[in-house]
C-alpha cells in the first residue's frame, strides 16, 4: 500500500476519534480547573498521562485530598486494560522497538477498537496507526487545554451532550461486524451484560477491572464458538 494511502487511512479513522475526544477533553479541562489545577497541570496531565477515565478519577481524588500514591495505584488499576489491548495490537503491527515506544503511547480504548476492526484489507500499518493515534492525541491535548483556559465561558450542557460521540463511535464499529459475523455479535452482547452485572453486583470494582474481566472472560467464548474464518 502506498504511503499516501496509509496516511489517508489514518486521517479518516482518526477523525471520528478526534471528534469524540474533543468534548470529553474539554469537560476534563473544565473539571480539572475547578478542582484547582493550573492550566499547565491540566495540559500536562493530558500530554503525559493521556488516559481519559484515569484523568477524571485523578482530578476527583485530588479534590478530595487523597494521597498521590493512592492516585497512582488507582490509575494503574484503571489503565491496566491497555496491557490487554497492546498485547492484541502488537501482534498485528510489525514495528521496530523504537517505533513501538512511540506507537504504544497512542494505545487507547478507541484507537484499539478502531485499529482492530477497521484495519485495511492489507492489514494494519504502522504509519496508518501513527496518523490515527496522533489525531486522537492532538484532539485530547487541545481539548483539555481549551477546557482549562475557557473553563468559565464554555456552555457545559452542550459539551455534556456531545459526550455521546464516543459511544456512537463504538456502536458504528460494532454493528457492521456483528451483522456480518454472528459470533462477534454474541460475544459483544454477553460482554455488555457481564459488564452490567459486574457493575451491579460489585459496585466497588473499578470500571477498568470490569472491562478487563468482561473482555478476557467473554472473548474466551470465541475459542469454542464454531467457524470464524481467518482474515486477520
Amino acid at each position: 500500500m502506498k504511503r499516501s494511502e496509509r496516511i489517508r487511512w489514518g486521517l479518516s479513522n482518526g477523525l471520528p476519534i478526534a471528534l469524540g475526544y474533543l468534548p470529553v477533553a474539554v469537560t476534563f479541562g473544565i473539571l480539572a480547573r475547578q478542582s484547582g489545577l493550573s492550566v499547565a497541570a491540566v495540559t500536562g496531565m493530558s500530554a503525559w498521562v493521556y488516559a481519559g477515565a484515569s484523568q477524571f478519577l485523578a482530578v476527583k481524588m485530588i479534590a478530595s485530598g487523597v494521597t498521590f500514591s493512592e492516585i497512582v495505584l488507582a490509575t494503574f488499576i484503571l489503565n491496566f486494560r491497555h496491557f490487554l489491548m497492546s498485547t492484541a495490537l502488537a501482534r498485528k503491527l510489525e514495528v521496530s522497538k523504537p517505533s513501538a515506544a512511540v506507537l504504544s503511547y497512542g494505545v487507547t480504548d478507541e484507537t484499539f477498537v478502531v485499529a482492530s476492526i477497521h484495519a485495511n484489507p492489507e492489514g494494519l500499518t504502522a504509519l496508518g496507526f501513527f496518523t490515527m493515534a496522533l489525531m486522537a492525541y492532538l484532539a485530547w491535548l487541545s481539548g483539555s487545554f481549551a477546557g482549562g483556559v475557557f473553563a468559565d465561558y464554555i456552555p457545559v450542557a452542550i459539551v455534556n451532550g456531545m459526550g455521546i460521540g464516543l459511544y456512537a463511535l463504538f456502536i458504528a464499529l460494532l454493528v457492521p461486524s456483528a451483522r456480518k459475523t454472528w459470533q462477534f455479535a454474541i460475544v459483544a452482547v454477553i460482554s455488555a451484560l457481564v459488564a452490567w452485572a459486574l457493575s451491579k453486583l460489585l459496585p466497588n470494582l473499578s470500571e477498568g477491572w470490569t472491562l478487563v474481566a468482561a473482555t478476557l472472560g467473554v472473548s474466551a467464548l470465541g475459542i469454542v464458538l464454531p467457524g470464524v474464518e481467518d482474515r486477520s
Binding site: 515506544a101 476492526i117 456512537a168 454493528v175 459483544a188 474466551a220
Partner: protein, 101 residues
Amino acid sequence: MIWLLLAGMFLVTYLPRLAPFLFAREIRLPAWVQKWLKFFPYAALGALIFPGILTAVPGRPGLAAGAGVIAAICSLFIRNITVIVVLAIAVVLLLQNLGIP
C-alpha cells in the same frame, strides 16, 4: 508537587501499553489463544458501550440510550463512522433542547 504525581501516572499508564510491544511478537501463541485474541475487540466494545452509555449524557439515560439506538440503526446503512458520530451528537443536542427526558 503535582508534577511528581503526573510522572507517577505517566509511568503506570505508559509501561502497560509499551510492554506487550516489546515481547508479545516474539512469543508463538497456540491457535486457540489467537482465536481468543481475535474476539478481544468485540468483547471490549460490548463492555465499553453498555452500561456506560446510560451515563453518557449526565442525568439523561433515556436520551443517551435513544441516541445510541438511532446510531445503531444508522450504522446499518452508513459506513462512515464520522457521520454516525456527528449524527448522534446532533440528535442529543437537538433533543436536549426540546426537553426530552
